[in-house]
Each structure stands twice: as C-alpha cells, then as structure tokens.
Symmetry: D2
Amino acid sequence: MTEHKPALRVGMIGYAFMGAAHSQAWRTAPHFFDLPLAPEMAVVCGRNAAGVAEAAARLGWASSSTSWRSVLEDDTIDLVDVCTPGDTHAEIAIAALEAGKHVLCEKPLANSVAEAEAMTAAAEKAAAHGVRAMVGFTYRRVPAIALARKLVADGRLGEVRHVRAQYLQDWLVDADAPLSWRLDKAKAGSGALGDIGAHVVDLTQHILGETIHEVSGQLETFVKERPVAESSSGLSGQAGTERGPVTVDDAAVFLARFGGGALGVFEATRFATGRKNAIRIEVNGSKGSIAFDFEDMNVLHFHDATIDDLEGGFRRIVVTEAGHPWVSAWWPPGHGLGYEHGFTHQVVDLVTALADGTQPEPSFADGLQVQRVLAAVETSSDTRSWQEVPA
Amino acid sequence: MTEHKPALRVGMIGYAFMGAAHSQAWRTAPHFFDLPLAPEMAVVCGRNAAGVAEAAARLGWASSSTSWRSVLEDDTIDLVDVCTPGDTHAEIAIAALEAGKHVLCEKPLANSVAEAEAMTAAAEKAAAHGVRAMVGFTYRRVPAIALARKLVADGRLGEVRHVRAQYLQDWLVDADAPLSWRLDKAKAGSGALGDIGAHVVDLTQHILGETIHEVSGQLETFVKERPVAESSSGLSGQAGTERGPVTVDDAAVFLARFGGGALGVFEATRFATGRKNAIRIEVNGSKGSIAFDFEDMNVLHFHDATIDDLEGGFRRIVVTEAGHPWVSAWWPPGHGLGYEHGFTHQVVDLVTALADGTQPEPSFADGLQVQRVLAAVETSSDTRSWQEVPA
Amino acid sequence: MTEHKPALRVGMIGYAFMGAAHSQAWRTAPHFFDLPLAPEMAVVCGRNAAGVAEAAARLGWASSSTSWRSVLEDDTIDLVDVCTPGDTHAEIAIAALEAGKHVLCEKPLANSVAEAEAMTAAAEKAAAHGVRAMVGFTYRRVPAIALARKLVADGRLGEVRHVRAQYLQDWLVDADAPLSWRLDKAKAGSGALGDIGAHVVDLTQHILGETIHEVSGQLETFVKERPVAESSSGLSGQAGTERGPVTVDDAAVFLARFGGGALGVFEATRFATGRKNAIRIEVNGSKGSIAFDFEDMNVLHFHDATIDDLEGGFRRIVVTEAGHPWVSAWWPPGHGLGYEHGFTHQVVDLVTALADGTQPEPSFADGLQVQRVLAAVETSSDTRSWQEVPA
Amino acid sequence: MTEHKPALRVGMIGYAFMGAAHSQAWRTAPHFFDLPLAPEMAVVCGRNAAGVAEAAARLGWASSSTSWRSVLEDDTIDLVDVCTPGDTHAEIAIAALEAGKHVLCEKPLANSVAEAEAMTAAAEKAAAHGVRAMVGFTYRRVPAIALARKLVADGRLGEVRHVRAQYLQDWLVDADAPLSWRLDKAKAGSGALGDIGAHVVDLTQHILGETIHEVSGQLETFVKERPVAESSSGLSGQAGTERGPVTVDDAAVFLARFGGGALGVFEATRFATGRKNAIRIEVNGSKGSIAFDFEDMNVLHFHDATIDDLEGGFRRIVVTEAGHPWVSAWWPPGHGLGYEHGFTHQVVDLVTALADGTQPEPSFADGLQVQRVLAAVETSSDTRSWQEVPA
C-alpha cells in the first residue's frame, strides 16, 4: 500500500492535547485514505527529555528530541508540525519555513497580528520555492461543516442575512479551577477569544466564503484570580493555595458585519455551564438556512425554503453517506465519526496538496486574517465602538 | 355572526376531565371558525346535583340536570355529548340515538365489543333518519396528525412497511397511587390498552388509511393492589389505608399486521417513568417516513426519500402554517396550539358534517373496529398466540 | 360560579391579531380559574363600523363602538384593553387612566420613550386612586418562563454570567412580501426591535430579576422597499405594483450588560429563514443553566451543575405538572398548552391584582424601562458605540 | 511504553468492514491506553491472495495469508480475531481454541444454535487451560451504554418495567438493491434479526443484567427477490439483470419477557427509511428511565424520578467526562467519540483480561444465549405463539 510511495517525514513540536490529536491523525490517515505520500512519524520534540521520550513511545514517533532547532536542521525531515502554545508559533514556524520544511501550525496562528504577519510573509516567501504552510483550523474538516459550505457555495441559501455562532465551554465555571498556561496572556495570547472564538470566526468565514469587515465586541474576565497550579503544562493540574491573576478573557461576545452584508453575532466562552464543546453555527439566507452543533457533530440541519411551506422544515441530515466529504473512507451510513477525524482529514488534504504542489487551506494568510478579526474585537472592547478589520 | 344561524342545542352527560375539554371546545369553536350552526351549551348532566350545578356555572352550561334520560326527553336538545366512563356509553348513546339526538361519544366507544356492536347498529339505524353519531378520537384533529395522514394518502411514503406506535404515560409508577375508576374493569372496561392504546390504534389506522388484521399481544398489571381512594370520581383522590385489586392492565404491548402488509409494534403504558403523554408514531414507507411525538405536538417529522441522500433527512415541519388543517383560524406561524385545540377542531368538523348531512368521522363503526382490535389483543394475551381481528 | 362575583366590565380597543387573542383570554379565564371578579366583555371598539360590528359578534363582545372616547366616557366600563398599533397607545391609555379606567395595554408600551414616560406618569398618578395599568408582555406567563424565573430567584443558577436571547421569525424573507403597518415607523414605531426584540428584553430581565444597564447594537433593513399593500390593516394583504419604503428595521442585534454583570447577546429578526416564532433564551450561571425555545413552549431545559458531572446534563422539564404555575387549572401532565394560554394567565393575574388592590405586573414603569433599552439600542446603532440605559 | 511489555501477536481472519474496524482498534488502543500487553498486528488472512496482500498493506498487518489453518499452526500467534461471515465462525473459532489461541469472534457468534453450542463448549474447554474466547458485541463499549448499565446496576432505575429497543437501518429500502452475502441464509444465517437484532438483544440484556426468558415474534421479508450482484463480497456491488431469492428476513419484530418481569418490545429492520444506524434503547423503571440513540452516540438521556416532579425530566448527559468509562484516555469533555472507538475499547478490555487471566466479556456463552433468543424468535414466528428461551 504505502511502500512504493515517496515518504513524508514529519517532525512534531509539542506533545500535549494537540500533539496527541495530530499523532493519531498522522498514524490513521494512511490506513483509510490512499495518500500520495507516505507519512513517517520521525521525531517528536519537547523540552523535557523524559517526557518527550515517553510521548514518543506512547504516541508512536520513531524518536524524540529536546531541541526543535535540531529537528529543523535534520535534512531528512520534510514537514514540521507545530503543536506548541501560541507564543512559540512564530519563531518555530518561520525558522522551519526558512529551513525549507513544510509547516502545519496549530491555531491560533500567533499571539499577535505582528507575529502572524511575519509568519505569513515567511510562508509566501517559502511558497515561491514550493514549501507550504497550513494553519490547523481542523473543524473545517468535519463533514457536516464541509457540507454546509457546499450548500452556501451552491447558492442553496441565497443571499446570507444572519450568522449566529457560539463556541461554548464550561471548564472555568469553577472559580477554583487552577491557572494554566491557557489563562496566561504571555503564553496563550488570548483567552476564550483566541482559543475557541478563533474557530467560529474561521468556520463562519469558511462556510460563507466571505470575510468579516467590522466588529463590535466585549471581552470579560469573570474570575480575576485563580489558584496557581503546581504544574502549568496542561489544561488541569493540582491547585495550591497561592492565587495568581488571570490575564486573558474568560468570554468574548461580538457583533460582526460580513463582506456580503450579513449580520453576525458571536460568542466564545468558557463559562457556559453545562455546555462542553458546543460549537453552534446557524446561517440564515434568503433561500434557506443551515444549523450545526458540534455536540451532535455528524448532523447538519438544513432548511430549504424553496420547498412548499406546508411541508418545509429544517431537515436533519446525518452526514455519514459515502458521498459526503471524506466519509467514503470510513464506515457505512449512520456510523458516526468523532472529534479526531477532523485531524485525520486535515492530514489527508495537506498531504494531497503537498503532492500536488498546491497551497493547502487554510493558509497562513487565512490564519492572519482571523487574527486580525480577533485583534479588532479586542480593540473594539477597549474603545467601546465598532472597529474595522484591515483587509 | 352566530345570530342568524340555526342553533345546535347541546346536552353534555358527564363533567370531569373530558367534560371540561368538551366544554372549552363548544365554547371556543364559534369564535374562531365560521360554523354553519350555532352551538348552544344548553344543559350539563351528572348524578350529583350540587356538583353538576357547580360544573354548569364553571364550564358555561345554561342549566344542569341529574337525569340523562330527561335530557334525552327534552325536544329542544339536538345533540348529546357523552363524556361519562365507558360502562355507560352504550346505554346513553343508544337511547339518545333512538330519541333522535345526534351523539358525540367519548372513546373508547364501549367497554365490550358487544356493546360497541349494539351502538353501531343503533347509529346505522339512526343515520337512515339523518341522525348522526361520532366517536371522540380527538387526536385525529391535531394538525400534525392530519398532515401525516395527508402525506400517506398522497403516496409520499410509498408502500408502508413499518409502524411503531407508543402511548407512554407514567402516572401509575408510584405503587401507592390510589385506585380510581380508571383501574376498575367494571367501570373502565380496560386499562392502558383501552384508555390510551385505543388512541394509537385509531391514529395509526387513520394515518395509514388501513386497518389492523391480526395481532399478538401481552397485557400486564405490574401493581396488583392499590390504596382505595376516598372518592373515585377523578384521576386522583385521597388514598386511605385499605387496598383493593387493580382489575385492568397497567400496560399493553402488541405486534400487529396491517391490511397492506405493514408490520406494527404497539405499546401503551402508564409505567413509562418520565413520559407524561408521549404519543409517538413513526411510519416507514418505501418512499419516505413520518415521525410524531405529542410531547412536541405542533411538529411533524417527515423524511422524503426521493431527495438526494446527500441532503436528505427527517425534516421538522412546524405545523402552524395557515395552509395546514384548521390552522388558518388561529395564530401566525410558530404560535403553537395546545391539547384542547383538537377538541375544538372535533366540534368544527362535527357541526359541519351535521349541517351538510354527511357522516362525521370517526363513526361508531370506526369505534367498533378499534374495539375489535383491542379485544383481539386481550384474547391474544390470554391464548399467547396471534389473533385475527374480525372484519 | 361567576354569578355572585363583582363584575369587571371590559372595553377593548382594536380587534386584529391581538384583539382576537385578548378576547379568547377574557372568555376563557373564568371557566378555568376561580377569578375574584367576573369579567364581562362589554364593548369592542374600532374605526370601521361594519368591521367592528362583525368583530364583536365573532369575538364575543356584547356591543361595538367606533369611538374609543365614548368607551372611556361609559361609566359602566371598568377596564380598557388597548390592542391598537403603538402610535395610539399613549393617547388612549392616558385618557383611559384619567377617566378612572384600569388599563391593559399591549406591548410595546409606546412608540417613543417620551410617550412611555407620559404613560408611566399617568399610571402612577392613577395608582394613587387605585386605578391600575399593566403592559401586556404575555410571554412572561408561559409556565416554562415562570419556572425559569423561579429557578433563578431561588439561586439555582448561582451568579449569572451569560444571557443569549433570540427572537427569530421569517415572515419578511420574501422581498415581495407587502408593506404593512408593522413596516411603517409612523405607526409601528420600530420594526423587529420593538415588535419582538421588546419581548426578549422583557423576558430576560424578568427571568434574571435584573435590568440591562448598557447596550451596543446594530439595526438593519435588508429590504428597503416593498410592494404597497392595497389594505394595510393586517400582517398580510394583497400587494400591488407600487413600492414604498420600509421605514423600520428588519433585524436588530445587540450586546448588553446586565446590572449584575452578566453579558447578554440579543437578536431579533424577521429574516431567520425557517424559524417561525423561535423565542430562544439561554442563561448560564455559576451553578446552573436554563434554556428555552418557544417553538417547544411546554418545555424548559435546566442544567443543575451541583449534580455530579458524570450524570449531569440539561434536563428536559415538561412544564405541565399541576404544581407548575397556572397549570393545575388545565390538563393532566403532558397535555401541553398553546400560544393563547399566556393571554389567559395574564387576565387571571390582572383580575386577581385588581381585586386585591395591588399593582399588576408588568407595570407601565416596566414597559417604559424596556422602551429605554430599545431606545438605547437605536442610539447605539446610530453612534456605533455602547450606550447606557437611563435608570 | 510498549517496548518492554509482553507481545500479543494477532492474526485476523477476514478483512472487509469488520476487518477494517478491528484493525483500527488494534492499531489505536496502545496509543491511548496503557495496555498490559503489546499487540502486534502479525498476519491478516483471506481467500484472495492479491486482495489480502493489499489489505495487509492498507490495514497495517505485517503479513498476509490465504490459509486460516496456517495461521492457527503458527506458534507465534497468540490470538485469532475472526471477522469472517457467520457460516465460518464455528469452524475457525473452534480450531483456533483447540490450537491454543485466544479468540475474538465477531457477532453473531454463529449461524445456528448448534454451532454456537459447540463453540461455547470449545471455549469452556479452552478456558481450563487459560485460553480465552470473546464475542464482539462492540456496542457494549460505547461509553453511554456502559453508563446506562451502571445506572441500572446501581439501582437508579429501581424495578425495571419496560424495555423498548430498535435497531433501524434503511439500506434495503430500494427494491433494486443487490443481493449480497448478508441476504443469503447459507452465509449469513439470518437477516436483520441476526445481524442487528442480535445487538439490541445483547445490549438490553447487558444493560439490565438480566436475560430474556420468552419471546413472541414475527419475521418478514418485504422484497423477496433482488438483482444478483456481480460480486457478493460486500455490502454493495454492481447489480445485474438476473434476480435471486432473498433467503433471510428484512425485518424482525418481537415482544419479550425479561427474567425480572420487564416487558420488552424489539424491532430490527433494514427498511426504516431515513434511519441509518439508529440503535434506540429506552428502559423505564420504578425510579427512573434511560434512553439512548446511537445516531447521537455520545449522549445518554437519564430521568431520575426521585427528583421533584416540578423540576424533573430526562437529562441529556454528554458522556465525555474523564470519569466516564474509557473516556479519560481520549479528549476533553464534549469532544465526542465515533463508531470505531467501541472496537478500541473492546481491544483494551480483551487485552486487560488476557493479562489478568480472567474471562473477557461477553463470553461465547453470552453469545450462545443471544443466539438462543434469536432462535426462539424464529421459532415463534413460525409457530405464531410465544416461545421460551432455553436457559
């Protein structure tokens, strides 16, 4: 199967939550999809030698390293997969591109627009030499989302009027949940806005095929101080008695105007008690509507307003037919996919683009554009007024 | 609007749960529908003089009586509305028909097939003189049910293969819930089977436009003895220390074969913990399916299998458009109807049929046929084998 | 029943959609609830003599009138029920209060804050003499909403963090839907914002027991011109070839900050294709959450976060138990109520307050406060910045 | 992590749908769970040399073979994973056990009770020597199902009264869908009953911790002849003009009585238009109820009837918390699992049992008992009467 294909040797930087998801994707993709290249999980990289060695064994990487620079210096490595916190994305990704490695970089692209701009410039420079960069907005590759985008692109929704999008989690509701790197602006860059709000910005723009032109938003940190965790290397950790400041937002809400005139209403929060990972998107157009909730990820609701009112209604499409995007590789209808499948599809599309010599999507430029939307929301929150998103 | 119309003077026998629902229907129908006759709520009848007088005032009847025979002897009464327990239906309805009164009789038509046969014979004899009889399977007149029937009649489901129907309640789960007349075979004739199973038998046959030809069933009384209620005149009552036998079924389950070959699976129970009044019907045909749950009564789910699989799915039709049955008389789309609206629609259709000189549906013959299905289920439960339903 | 009670003679001004709903409520309430006063539907008033006479007969009013002033001059009238478009509310209601009549006034209270202030001043003056004024935010009296409010008041949600509220309709999606008085700023005062946005502002404030302190919003008119209807007296009408300007908003979106610190996200639109009357409210607090959708109006979803995570989740409460607000008057559990029941409950509470000599809620002051929120949204839309709501 | 663990060398027989699912499980389990043994995907076996070689490469097996007997003769193989059609299960599994190999055998255990009995006898004999046999009822290992079982076991449902279970698919609705081995009694043994009915029999018994004692059922073949497929090696295939007889049931319905007295209603069909893989199970007990639908597989609905009626209701538990069975190995809350995760959990539990020297569940005896239930349904369908299930 894979034996006569050119290899694609991958080095992954970081091995926490995202590292585990990426590893499963690299490992699984070749077994379900007929990839043009054969990914090899060559090396995983992290700062703690013992930790990264254990991760290599557990996640299935052939070797481990404590120096990402040495990974970049390794001529046998074709692609660098950046799964570290956002404060290191720019440095690693730019260096990797300059070293001639393809880059897959987790979102958000960077912790600042300036960094994202530098990364995008590096990506464009690299592209001239056939070196590619992609940012990991993995939810684009949930089949129901791809179907939503197709329906809009096919004109099935007509002129889009409304977008309402929420990314709701509740893991910070407990005021005694510990500080983690995700609550530290220096490391994470942003809170709910950058971590999860970025996803719904990207997803809605992706579905509409339009960008957001202006925003009016508000950030909020409901719990200002939290117990300092003994270890800050994960989502959770043991809380001590010391408390430290939360320097990112717990929640972000904003209004938006899309290029085509649609009105958007966005919400990203870690305080939506009882909602675990509810990515909810509804789009209303002159001819139809779609609605999605990641808590029921294999389903897309579609209302076709051209059907007679007397029998019209949102239909619950179970997006598991062989003809749906990526689905033919998996199981029969009704045998649903899970969270990690989006990562596998991302690998499939990335590897295919690399073999084809085309730009994988979303590009760093796409990631930068999302970053600019997020920055405009932050500025708007400070100025208490609408803010344009630079084109 | 009602002033120049011929009057339809109504006498109602019984004034408990069903009496309240019927009263609201008689009172409401003329204000929302342009009826050909003007109903007058002339007299309500019950055994307890004080009780029935209070009910007349409360429910809006012009007078009260303690003798149903005197109501029948009253030449000014045009229609008798029978809302008493099942053991009195036959005697009252037959006498009323013989007295030349139209009859609306609550379901189940009677407590035995023999009684139902006698009632049907009386109804047919009366019909020859333009006197009409109708049985009150009110759920037929939920707009979503009427739409379901229309879709089947229009061939939208193709050849029907499967019917699954449940009527789930839970008001007997508590083993200390008191005995009431509904648990007394002498009065109620049957338990869950006759009280609520009758509805799903009628509804599925109504939707399919077919009858059930054979059944295999099982009745069960989970709690054999219950506290004797001080008063047995309602659903509830104060429980004493004495316990008496439950002589009807708590639950009934049965398989069924419809005339057209469809396989039915039925369940009626008062022990479905957490289900309050869940009338659930799903029908699968070669071209489509419908699904309904009375706990969301303004909605019908319809799957049109002629739509491309890639965008097909059950659609949630909110059955509140002006073009839906009976709806134009009420509110704008999305402003749902409630339980009692079915009773109002029943009055509308009954009064219209009376004015037109046509047979209102469902007829006593329809009620008898349902009774025969229920009787076959009982026999099947005793014989532990399939039982044919006499045509 | 009602015969020995003091009468409450009602005169209703206006007889369109709201008039029909109010009529059903006045007629129905005494038959299901033991009211302290006996409402009498004395007179209905409208400008067209034939139309109002027909309405009187159809809706069940004893007489009709073409002069609302004559209704106010009628000493036998105790209460004036104002169901006209918003531009006439102030004049009629103030005059009625000055004439010593209790007033029930449809929402929105008025077309401007100035009018609403005058009305509130009149109401407060009248209250000194025991004359009462109430504004008809009827959705407060959906049992599921009342339960939501109780859960918040009982502290079951803890500290409220998020409110997301939408009122979604789609009756203007068709660009050729005709102009009606509801699209004329002079008559309606406002579009989606005032007509339906007012409801979600009132409902969320009612549920939280808090007011909105500041807002940032955006109004939009997607379709600027529409066919002029031959008759402008209703929601619909025959469209001609002439087109006229839409002078109100089709949609309104806004962010809000509640007094207690919660972040609100609001949306009111007549362009949400496929959503018929979807009033959706979700509230997240530190201890729990509630969620409601009027398209399933007998249900409240409640998440109690004090339950172990391993078995916690939003529970679907079917709000039809005898112990739920107003429900004991109606049907057994699971036998749902419909849209018009809220109007009946409104009559019940109003009549009870009048008999008790207490202030019925919501008061004109409450209506004024909602008006101020709406006005702040409009100003914010113009200034493109946050706007405080005057206390 | 896996390097110092004892190896578990696996040979898999068959490589179609189930082979792909098992391969993914063997490959994935060690990367997410700390297994006591290190599975090695040693050899995959099939009749077609080219096909099985391709499958080995694609599915990740180290080698391929066309002789299952040679796999059994290979001393380095520890476990044989039987993924062939049911007609070969007995021969292969018994031989494997006799050869001292552990066996994982897909369901249904066999095509006849006699075969299943022989297999169970072989399994018991082998167990005496520490050789283990397990049957692959993989849906037991959906976390929501495991939670359901726990709630019943913990007494949270009280005395169980009702079980309603459906396994609904629609892939045969099209009368021109081709014949495949699954429609051939000689190969498949049974149709919907054995293929999918077996799952709901096993699941409900597993959840209740009780067996079914008697049944009354009906089988049906709606479409008696179908186009002969060119190739019969899969679910689908190209249809020719020739038609052949369908020798298995398209649908099966049956009533059941559980050992503890609960009444069951079952349905398994490939003709439920619009239902793709809907495994629906509802259980009602004296203290609570649970409801599950595989089309929303990460959710369990639980009604705790000990909660006050006024705030009780089915709660939607998103079964993705770290404390839920198997979940801590995967993703954060709300990041749902998919169909194949059950297979991975099956591997985890099997490997753990092998290392512990305990009997993995479900055993062949469990598989035999399910087979006896299915056989009783078939007999009941023939005799048109209730049939006891031999203990």
